[in-house]
Symmetry: C2
Subunit: 123 residues, 2 copies
């Protein structure tokens, strides 16, 4: 049986409050799905810790043999298309026996339009 | 009966592809909800056109008496807390008879955690 870790990956901000929002989201995801995964944690591309590399190291130290990154990004810009894959490729080269992959980014989700319309009702 | 316009507000990017993603999302929202609203369009906070101010002008020229902005942002940073409200306040002062309000930003949605978990399955 594989031991899979989820890693919520956000941009990172100089504002600690924005980084806390990512921690809180990760906590909600953890409460929903912790029974299915070895661990559910978060990482930041830049400007905040833990970095993607350090978070991947930690998943592996906890015994993960598969790591799935969940990009908390709205557009397929340079961060999603280039920066995150580059950091993952470096770690994949370091740990060839671990399966590290990147899920589609949040903005590509089918349900985003419905969620935007729901904002009107919560207004 | 009020004539309400929806305005999807995104940050805006120098990459035209990112701006196109916002246009495409707005088109999906329009297909889902056009029967309920006078118009459904998009605007950018910076770096791309139409600006929030120009988009609000256009809604009003089309006959809107209520405009609801839907912030396509993941965190409650300066853009959500300060920049968008300031631009809206300037337009509200210009058009006191029009109801202009800002819905909660996307990242505040209850369903985000489930949507993040769904990314694993679409991987």
């Amino acid at each position: 049986m594989s031991a899979t870790s989820l890693l919520v990956v956000a941009h990172g901000s100089r504002r600690s409050q924005s980084n806390s929002e990512v921690e809180q989201l990760t906590q909600i995801i953890r409460e929903k799905a912790c029974s299915k995964y070895l661990s559910i944690s978060h990482a930041f591309l830049e400007l905040a810790e833990p970095s993607i590399g350090n978070a991947i190291d930690q998943c592996i130290q906890q015994g993960a043999d598969e790591i799935i990154l969940l990009p908390y990004f709205l557009s397929a810009g340079r961060h999603v298309q280039q920066d995150i894959p580059e950091q993952v490729a470096a770690k994949q080269a370091q740990y060839p026996q671990i399966k590290i992959h990147i899920a589609p980014y949040l903005g590509a989700s089918q349900g985003i339009a419905d969620m935007m319309l729901a904002l009107v009702k919560s207004d």
